[in-house]
């Protein structure tokens, strides 16, 4: 980092690469999707770049990096869940109405199970539990160790993907 602060671009690039390797598992453990990990990792690297003058090279580097990473992660999760909770209100209505649509159009879970399996693993499991095994969103949340709103959001995303595929 000292070399980086002195303007050594190669050392700086290497430091950022090493930092991203170090942070990836930290983020993967806390986020559900790889795309989220990528987005947040980019944001953290930009933050490290912006704040690099606050590191003088005389104290351990990791606590400084993790302080920034945790800050950005909290920000991200706060915004993410606030956004998803807004959707969750509408989703409860959607969830109630969806089975009716399925029967009206004579689409059963079995008939689209092939498409469901192509969904990301978590979404597929949620749909399977809710529509094949008859669990409620709350029960699925408990079973998967997730928040109820997060289950509804994941289900909503899955419905959207399925709808666009079936409409084609």
């Amino acid at each position: 980092m000292r070399q980086s602060l002195a303007g050594d671009q190669r050392a700086y690039a290497e430091l950022l690469r090493e930092t991203s390797r170090m942070l990836r598992p930290f983020l993967t453990r806390r986020l559900s999707f790889e795309s989220e990990v990528e987005d947040l990792l980019q944001e953290i690297l930009i933050s490290i770049h912006k704040a690099r003058h606050t590191y003088d090279g005389n104290r351990p580097y990791k606590p400084w990096v993790y302080a920034i990473a945790k800050f950005r992660l909290q920000d991200y999760l706060r915004a993410h869940y606030a956004d998803h909770l807004r959707h969750a209100v509408e989703l409860s209505e959607l969830e109630e109405s969806l089975p009716e649509h399925v029967t009206e159009t004579a689409i059963s879970y079995e008939s689209i199970s092939g498409e469901v399996k192509k969904l990301p693993e978590k979404q597929a499991t949620i749909l399977q539990l809710m529509h094949q095994e008859g669990y409620t969103a709350k029960e699925v949340a408990e079973k998967m160790g997730m928040n109820e709103s997060a289950v509804k959001v994941a289900a909503h995303r899955a419905y959207k993907i399925l709808r666009s595929k079936l409409e084609r």
Partner: protein
């Protein structure tokens, strides 16, 4: 992964030599020096209370001023540490204002008990709060401006501590300027509003110190 590599290359190309931020001790000393100079200038222009020589012989007044000064020093140091993402890895010192504040409250409680018979209440009331706010405005703006150059990861607390620091300057100024012996008035119109402004700093910090 490709995006990350591209980003790293871009950031590395953009990386010019940067001057590391000063140590938080130096930073807080700078802020304290500036605030002390501002306080002295304010007192030169507004004038010291005429009975200051007498008041400086009253232990509770001296202790009150000393502990209020302690709050100012502790909050300045804490604000400087909170400006760094990792608090310069001196987490314990960040809590220094808690100690100074507990001491200050204790002194105020004891001074209140010692104020017997109670000194008469002055005729004015909220004017003191306004005066303190006006006096604290410049230190607050300056502290926030200085803190924005860093990268706080505790924006709520940083804002609160910065405002407490600025308002302690205002409170010190008024206590050394105004002829008033009523501890009840001082608590109601000087120190409680100061704490309220510190709480408002929780919100302000989030807004201003965002990066």
């Amino acid at each position: 992964m490709e995006n990350i590599d591209d980003l790293i290359n871009q950031l590395a190309q953009d990386a010019k030599a940067v001057k590391p931020a000063p140590h938080p001790y130096m930073l807080s000393l700078k802020w304290m020096g500036a605030a002390a100079a501002y306080l002295m200038l304010s007192l030169v222009f507004s004038g010291l209370r005429p009975d200051i020589a007498l008041k400086l012989h009253q232990p509770w007044f001296v202790i009150e001023i000393a502990t209020l000064g302690g709050v100012f020093v502790a909050t300045s140091l804490s604000a400087a540490l909170l400006s760094f993402p990792d608090m310069h890895q001196m987490r314990r010192l960040v809590f220094a204002p808690v100690v100074s504040f507990v001491l200050f409250v204790l002194v105020i409680i004891l001074a209140w008990q010692a104020d017997s018979p109670p000194a008469p209440l002055p005729v004015h009331s909220f004017e003191c709060t306004i005066s303190i706010t006006l006096a604290a405005l410049l230190p607050a703006v300056w502290t926030f401006y200085a803190m924005r150059k860093f990268a706080s990861t505790h924006t709520h607390w940083a804002g609160s501590i910065a405002l407490l620091s600025a308002f302690s300057v205002g409170a010190l100024w008024l206590r050394l300027h105004e002829v008033n012996d009523s501890i009840r008035h001082v608590v109601e119109w000087h120190y409680l509003p100061m704490i309220a402004c510190g709480l408002a700093g929780l919100w302000l910090g989030k807004k201003i110190l965002k990066w």
